[in-house]
């Protein structure tokens, strides 16, 4: 079986399994919506003032809800032994990790991007900035999925690994947060977000090319 076919099968399996548990699929999304509601409620600001902190709120909420869904990246398969079967399957573990992470992004990151207009309107982000917001969220959530795959691989099978996962992934994700929120912020102020978006793009490329190797090495360490 070729590597491509293996990847497609893994992605298809991930999607199929996730759609069997739609509640688990929706939980991070609902968390995202709830967290973005918390900020305006807590700060009690008018919509026109809220848009200044909207990118930060949006991005922080996206980061936190992505972390929720990251725990399940490898955990389910590790618990029932599928992961070991995948490692033993003879296919490159890196390819399998790429497939699983891509599926994870489709299920969580893409969902966040699709839900973002709702949140953006609630936070007062002008429609003109939506394009930048989408672009930055796509790049950012992809980067986060890749970074998270490393953290998830390192903490799979640990008791209370989810806290450790956040502790590991969040510091690595901070540059992405800075530039992602920065890009949206510039778009809202009417300035060109190109610089920040390019940087975000390069971060994404850097991460997605190197992270699969790190994550598969981590899986080999934690699974042996």
């Amino acid at each position: 079986m070729s590597a491509t076919r293996a990847m497609i099968l893994v992605v298809a399996r991930e999607l199929r399994l996730s759609f069997r548990r739609p509640d688990q699929l929706l939980q991070p999304l609902v968390f995202f919506l709830i967290v973005t509601t918390l900020f305006p409620l807590g700060l009690n600001l008018q919509l026109s003032l809220l848009k200044d902190m909207a990118p930060g709120v949006l991005w922080t909420a996206a980061l936190l809800s992505s972390l929720l869904s990251l725990e399940s990246l490898f955990k389910g398969d590790a618990d029932d032994g599928t992961l070991e079967q995948l490692v033993l399957s003879g296919h490159s573990l890196t390819v399998i990790v790429i497939a699983k992470t891509a599926a994870h992004w489709l299920l969580s990151g893409a969902a966040l991007v699709l839900a973002s207009p709702l949140v953006a309107i609630a936070l007062g982000i002008p429609v003109a900035a939506f394009g930048t917001m989408f672009a930055s969220l796509v790049l950012g959530t992809m980067t986060l999925s890749w970074l998270g795959s490393i953290g998830a691989a390192l903490t799979v099978g640990l008791k209370r690994g989810n806290v450790l996962l956040s502790l590991i992934v969040l510091p690595l994700a901070m540059p992405m947060l800075i530039f992602g929120a920065g890009a949206t912020d510039r778009a809202i102020s009417g300035m060109s977000p190109a610089g920040a978006l390019y940087f975000l793009g390069s971060l994404c490329l850097f991460t997605c090319t190197l992270a699969p190797f790190a994550a598969s090495a981590a899986l080999r360490i934690t699974l042996e």
Binding site: I150, L164, L172
Partner: protein, 244 residues
Amino acid sequence: MWTWFYRLASPPFVYRTAGTLTPWFMAAAAVAIGYGTIAGLLFAPPDYQQGDAFRIIYVHAPSAWLSLFAYTTLAVAGAIGLIWRIKMGHAVSAATAPIGASFTLAALLTGSLWGRPMWGTYWAWDPRLTSELILLFLYVGVMSLRAAFDDPGRGDRAAALLGIVGVVNVPIIHYSVVWWNSLHQGATVAKIGKPAMPGSMLWPLLAMFLGFMCFYGAVLCMRLRGEVLNRERQSAWVREAIQS
């Protein structure tokens, strides 16, 4: 030819050598830090812009440098342990982590106190400060990850991988003042050729750098002996080594 390299990897050799080196490192550290502190506080002239507040550099800059050096050591030693399966690499990596974390905290706090009179604020989210704060979180993450595993070997290897992943932050911290418009000043000492400081200010600073490095060497050797004992408890050589 490679026998000296294999000796480096041998736990009894590491234990003995660390024990021998510690007093020398400590003596050098005491002299250098002693001279650097006294000269820096009393004999260096006040800066024309910053007045006496610039004297914080004598503790801030060496701490910051050590925080980076220790993390790089952590990452390289962990890589040696991971790639060549040399257990002493993991021992060095584990020993250096808490030391580096403490100096990162020192750099952040002294920098904050220096920032208050100089920039008017205890904190700013500028690239260098932010990436140094991220470094502190990385240290904590590596230490927590190592401790989370029941099997210490697995914990070592996982922590080594995380250390390597995080090392990308080190050049970011170092070059942040070059790549971005930062509140934090640029390089004053590391400029090739003429540094931007007069000798009376520079010598105590260089002494402090040297002293802190020797201190790091001493404390690392001390902790390393503990790490070696913990990992090699069951070995035969340990009996004679600790009963002497």
